[in-house]
Symmetry: C2
Subunit: 134 residues, 2 copies
């Protein structure tokens, strides 16, 4: 006997989700849920923070955005391509960076029998805004 379940989850349009997607797609600063909430409020005054979190999670699941963790708080990224971040310990800015070096994957596979999916890297330091005079 074969039983097949179909769980159909119709996702339907919502102004709130559209706005949230739009905000993430137009912000380069890897905003937090709260920043997105405050921004969304400007055009949807009654939007609630729970709605923001729920939709961010949904957008993440559908692969439209990416969640990154900055120490212990979540920030959201429109850039879903594999990339890494420079984090300035001075101003907190996150700067996108693409390191195309995949050479560690086979090495780790060999040394640890560990199958690499992705590499999440935070490069901590000081950005050019705080450069000392030379």
């Amino acid at each position: 006997m074969i039983i097949i379940y179909f769980l159909i989850f119709a996702v339907r349009f919502s102004h709130q989700r559209e706005k949230i997607r739009e905000i993430v797609y137009n912000t380069n600063s890897h905003p937090t849920a709260d920043k997105i909430f405050l921004e969304a409020k400007k055009s949807i005054p009654k939007i609630s923070l729970g709605t923001v979190y729920r939709n961010l999670k949904q957008l993440e699941i559908s692969g439209e955005i990416k969640t990154i963790y900055d120490d212990n708080i979540a920030r959201y990224d429109w850039n879903t391509e594999p990339h890494n971040h420079l984090k300035c310990k001075n101003c907190g800015d996150l700067i996108d960076i693409v390191l195309k070096d995949k050479s560690i994957h086979p090495k780790i596979k060999k040394d640890f029998k560990f199958n690499v999916d992705k590499v999440e890297m935070f490069i901590i330091g000081t950005c050019k805004k705080h450069a000392k005079q030379t």
Copy 2:
């Protein structure tokens, strides 16, 4: 006129801190504050979670342990040498790994005028415990 302030902060012995240090130094699993708390309770039943957090922070400041962030929760590491972690998305284990490649530092300096202090890397994947048959 020269004013010199001395802020003297005598750190004195406490059984609780000794136990917490001992637990971190004898645990390879990068335990959370809660794990450390539960373990410490076995020998100091009245220890409080606040004491665990306060002392972990103090040990981190004194350079005896290191804090790492696994998504959004703090874990503690006796290994204060620069190193990175393999994270199994299956069982959550963190495995220490040392990548001695420092070649990205000058490149980032050049491309972004960004001064690198340290690189925090989580290599996400599947550990050998869940290897599929070949």
